[in-house]
Each structure stands twice: as structure tokens, then as C-alpha cells.
Symmetry: C2
Subunit: 332 residues, 2 copies
């Protein structure tokens, strides 16, 4: 007769206390990643039955998944919501849509999210680590989309913002642009930071460029106003890299309609996202395309895996963006 | 002692059979509107207790409202979804978002909608009368947004598309435009039909204009392609009225980038919706602004009223649009 493996067996084999083993299977256990990984490996080898624990984390099933999205994401990338919705529906899940103003206001809707019997949550916005823990403790599968939140049993998938922006920096540098203006999103916005930091870090490595960075708020109006303000002293940059396409289209229109500067004759302009308008001849915008549909499908896969096995090892996946060469910027 | 008023009392006072009275309180009763209104009026006067019936229609409460929206609505008017979401959340309701490709594919998600314990449904897409009845029979409050579906106990709110388009026709006519091209949405799309019909009917009343109508699919790409096709014989219209802004922006870019025609020097172009890009100097588009936020707030009011009182008389409300005068069209 095979005796059932207990947490005491795992503790003995891993050389830790039973309480440590138990804490390794709780999101708020306060165990270092190194120790936790070692304990989970031993548990796996011994055939310690995680399923009972896993099941205990699941209190109910509703076939409903929450999707937290900022207004910006819905405005700028509605296809993402469509793809998530279609992929979830294919698996029999409905979407409870939770809309937030910005990443900073997610706290406002978390209580609402907890009032519904959700099976899981895909968040396109940042969350406070304590809130992440509240969700995981309730057995809610949690996947972050284009946000990086490191926590036990929480998966992340997103664009490799920094890597794509490094490629843009190389193309700018190779074209000979040396006076470069960067327009970011709001200070602290993680996606904007990754894009701008990747771009400026690569330019610094390449050397010889003078880079100035100012903050916008991801909108067309902000791109236009922030650019006009930045060039008020008449110093024309060679090229402008914006943290998203809306900002870049605002910069292009400021050049063409407010200042009478030609794009790209006088100033090269590039954005990030490849929204639909970016491809129109009225903008013909150089940008970075994200694999939105592919990532959304993968986010749903990760969520389903996590619903099935709440204690599966967490993963973080980065998907490369693609530089889209068009007419708004001279590139090398 | 006051005897409780029964359906037999109502039948006697209204001069109809009891079965007719009973059928007047069922969505599928097959009673003419005239008879039903008369019976309901008598029932009201006698103090016939509708609440018991009303309650019987409500089987459960979930604090969750379904919102059916086409991809087009979400892409083109995300603010509508935001306003609905905020207004519903203020009243303690979450949104189950049901996304459909077009009005024609609503059938695909109705079964999913019925699987969740919704308190009500706001539909921004058309529904088959039999499906409407299925929802109402289950005690689901149902409000149509920018769609007109006449059914007992179903409310509708939307823009006065035809009236706003009549105003556009007058401004076109007064400017002297006589060769006019209309580009609609897909054949049969109700919003497009109301806009194009209102426009062409008013032009016909004013007289002297030659009007041609072609169908597009509400997208920028379609506007550009359909316009190029329509003017392939070289006959340049004086002015183009499009059933939405995306079509109109496609027409403007076809004129400017494909044909070398000036807007509005050679051709006047106008749209409908007043999307964000319409106000940019790169388009500066003449259009009709809808009171989206106001209508969304009102839709939620109607829904809450209907949840409270499932047998309240149905209402249909039309909200006037506002002609936005800008640079893309010469207007009188």
C-alpha cells in the first residue's frame, strides 16, 4: 500500500519545516523565491498532491472572467478586447468588463470585481501587490497583459517594449539623427517607461546623440501641445520618438499645421502601437506593431491553465514588436 | 373591507375577456397595441395590482447587466461603453460585455447572454423580435440604444438620425451643391438607412439636386475604395455625405492622396458621429455630433426603471444631433 505523501514528507526531503512547506503553497507565505522553488521541486518529485490544495483555492465556478482595462487601452486597442472576448467565449467564458480611468485608479474597481463570482481575471492595468494577493488567495486565476507584476502564481504576457524601442533607436541613429526629442506617457506609466528607457539606453550606447525627454499623457492633444511647448525656443529636433501613436500623430499635426514644418523633411516622427490611423496616407506613421491578437490568445491560454492548476509555476512571456517602416521618419 | 381587484374586474370594465387581460400582461400575448393600451389604462384606474405580476417576471437578481455592442460601436464610440459602465457602476451594477461582429450576428451571443443571471440588457445592436420576447419573458429589462425595436415593455433611446441628416441636407442645398453622392453603411443597416433616408428625403423636398447613393461598410478603407469606384468615370460630385465619419475620412483621403482633388475646394465632404479624429486639423470634418454621454445616462435610467417596474409603459426617445460646421465642406 502506498502511503499518501504529506507536507511533512516534503519538509523532511527539502530540509525545511512543515510550516515553510505550507507557506510555500500560499500566495502571502513570505517565502523567498529560491526556497519556494526548491520546495515546490521536491513536492513535485515526491508526488505531493497539490490538487487538493489547488481545489481548496477554488471556491466556486461561474464561467465568468473579469477583464480590467484602462479607457486608453479600449480606445487605442479595441481589437485587444475583441480578441480576449472571442477567445474566452470559445472556452465558454463570459467577460465582466471592468473599466478604469488609468492604472492609478484600479483600486476603485477591485471591490466590485470581488463581488462577482469570477473564475479569473485578465488585467491590462497595474495592481497593488496586496490586491494581487487578495485575488490569488480567493483562488482567482490572474494574468497580467502588457503589465509586469511579479507575484507567486500570477502570469504575465506582454510586448517586449524595451527591445522594440532599442530597434527604433538604432534606425534613428543610423539615419544620422542626433538631436532627438522623446515624448513619453504620464510619469511613472510602466509601458511608457519601458519604451522610452529602451530607446534612450540604446542611443546612449551608440553615443553622439543629444536626447531630451518630456512627459505627455498618451493622447493626440497632449502630443501636439507638449511638442509645441518643447520647441517654443525654436530649436528644431532632428527626430521625435513618441511612446505611442496618438502622441506621434499630435506631433505630426503640430509640425504641419501649427509650425509649417515638413515631416519627415524637417523633422522625423515615430510612434508605437501601429493603430489603424497610423497606416493612413494622412499620417503614414513609422511605428512598432504589437502582436495584440496573438498575445490576447496566449493570455487566455495562460488563464485557462491557471484555472485548471492554480499552483502551476508562474510564467512571464515577452513578445517581440515589429518595426513598421513608413514615410513619417527617415530611418537608417 | 376592500375586495382585491382581479383580472375579471379589469375584463368587465374594459369590455374584453379575462384571457385578453391576461394576455395583455404577457410580452407574447399577441394583443394589438390599441387594445392593450386600453386594457392597461383600465387596469391602472381600477388599481389592479400589477406588482404581483411584475414580481413574477423577476426570477433573480445578480446586479449584473449585459451590454450588447457591435465591434463597430466599440471602435467608433468607446465613450459610449465608458458612460454606460460608469452609470451602471454608480447604481451597483457590473457589465457583462457581449461583443458581436455586426447587427446580423446578434443571434450568436444571445444564448450566452441567457446563461448568466442578468438583471437587464442594454443592446446597441438589433435583435430578432422572437429573441426580444425570450428576454422579456424571462423578466429581463431590455433597452435598445440607437436601435428602434418596437415591442411591449421594451424601451428605446437613440439619436434622431433622420432629423440631423435633414439639417445636413439643408446646409448642402443652401451652399448650392447639386450633384451629391451619398455613401451609406452596409445595405439594411438601420442607423445608416435612417441617416441616408433623412438626407435624401429632405434633398428631394428641396428639389433640383441629383443624388446618387452607394453602400460602404462604415470603415475608412471602405469609404476610400467605394468613393474611388464611384468616381471612376471622372464625374466629380459637388459634395459627398457619408453615413459616418470613418467613411468620410476615407473619402477625404481618396480625394487628397489618390485623386489630387482639394477638399472642400473641389469636393465638399461631411460625415456623422463627430469622432475624435474628425476634429483634428488633418480632417477638420463637417459632421453631426451625437449626445452619447447624455443618451447613455438616460439608457441606464430607463433600464433601472424597467427593472423596478417591468410593466411600466414602454417609451421611445429620440435625441437631436448637432450639426458641427468645420472646414471639410462648404455649407449654406
Amino acid at each position: 500500500m502506498t502511503r499518501r505523501v504529506t507536507s511533512y514528507d516534503v519538509a523532511r526531503a527539502a530540509g525545511v519545516s512543515q510550516s515553510t512547506v505550507s507557506r510555500c503553497f500560499r500566495p502571502d507565505g513570505g517565502i523567498s523565491k529560491v526556497t519556494r522553488d526548491a520546495v515546490l521541486r521536491v513536492a513535485e518529485e515526491l508526488g505531493y498532491n497539490r490538487n487538493a490544495l489547488a481545489r481548496s483555492l477554488i471556491t466556486r465556478r461561474s464561467n465568468m472572467v473579469g477583464v480590467i482595462a484602462t479607457k486608453f487601452t479600449i480606445r487605442n486597442n479595441p481589437e485587444l478586447v475583441f480578441t480576449l472576448s472571442a477567445a474566452l467565449r470559445d472556452h465558454g467564458f463570459g467577460i465582466l468588463l471592468l473599466i478604469v480611468e488609468t492604472d492609478d485608479t484600479v483600486g476603485d474597481i477591485l471591490q466590485q470585481a470581488l463581488e462577482y463570482p469570477l473564475d479569473g481575471l485578465i488585467s491590462c492595468a497595474l495592481m497593488d501587490p496586496r490586491d494581487v494577493e487578495r485575488f490569488v488567495r480567493r483562488g482567482l486565476a490572474l494574468v497580467f497583459f502588457n503589465r509586469n507584476v511579479a507575484a507567486p502564481w500570477v502570469d504575465c504576457i506582454g510586448t517586449d517594449h524595451a527591445g522594440s524601442s532599442r530597434a527604433m533607436a538604432e534606425a534613428f541613429h543610423a539615419a544620422g539623427h542626433r538631436r532627438i526629442l522623446c515624448i513619453g506617457g504620464p510619469v511613472g506609466a510602466p509601458v511608457s517607461r519601458a519604451r522610452i528607457d529602451g530607446f534612450t539606453a540604446r542611443l546612449a550606447e551608440l553615443g553622439g546623440a543629444e536626447v531630451r525627454t518630456v512627459a505627455g499623457n498618451f493622447s493626440y492633444t497632449s502630443g501636439r501641445a507638449v511638442f509645441l511647448d518643447a520647441v517654443r525656443d525654436g530649436a528644431r529636433p532632428d527626430a521625435v520618438f513618441c511612446a505611442n501613436d496618438q502622441l506621434a500623430m499630435g506631433v505630426m499635426d503640430a509640425c504641419r499645421y501649427d509650425l509649417g514644418w515638413r515631416v519627415p523633411g524637417d523633422v522625423s516622427v515615430a510612434g508605437f502601437d501601429d493603430v489603424e490611423e497610423a497606416g493612413r496616407p494622412s499620417y503614414d506613421l513609422v511605428t512598432v506593431a504589437q502582436s495584440g491578437a496573438e498575445m490576447a490568445a496566449r493570455a487566455v491560454e495562460l488563464l485557462l491553465r491557471r484555472i485548471d492548476d492554480p499552483l502551476a509555476p508562474e510564467v512571464t512571456e515577452r513578445v517581440a514588436g515589429r518595426l513598421v517602416r513608413r514615410g513619417s521618419a527617415r530611418l537608417g
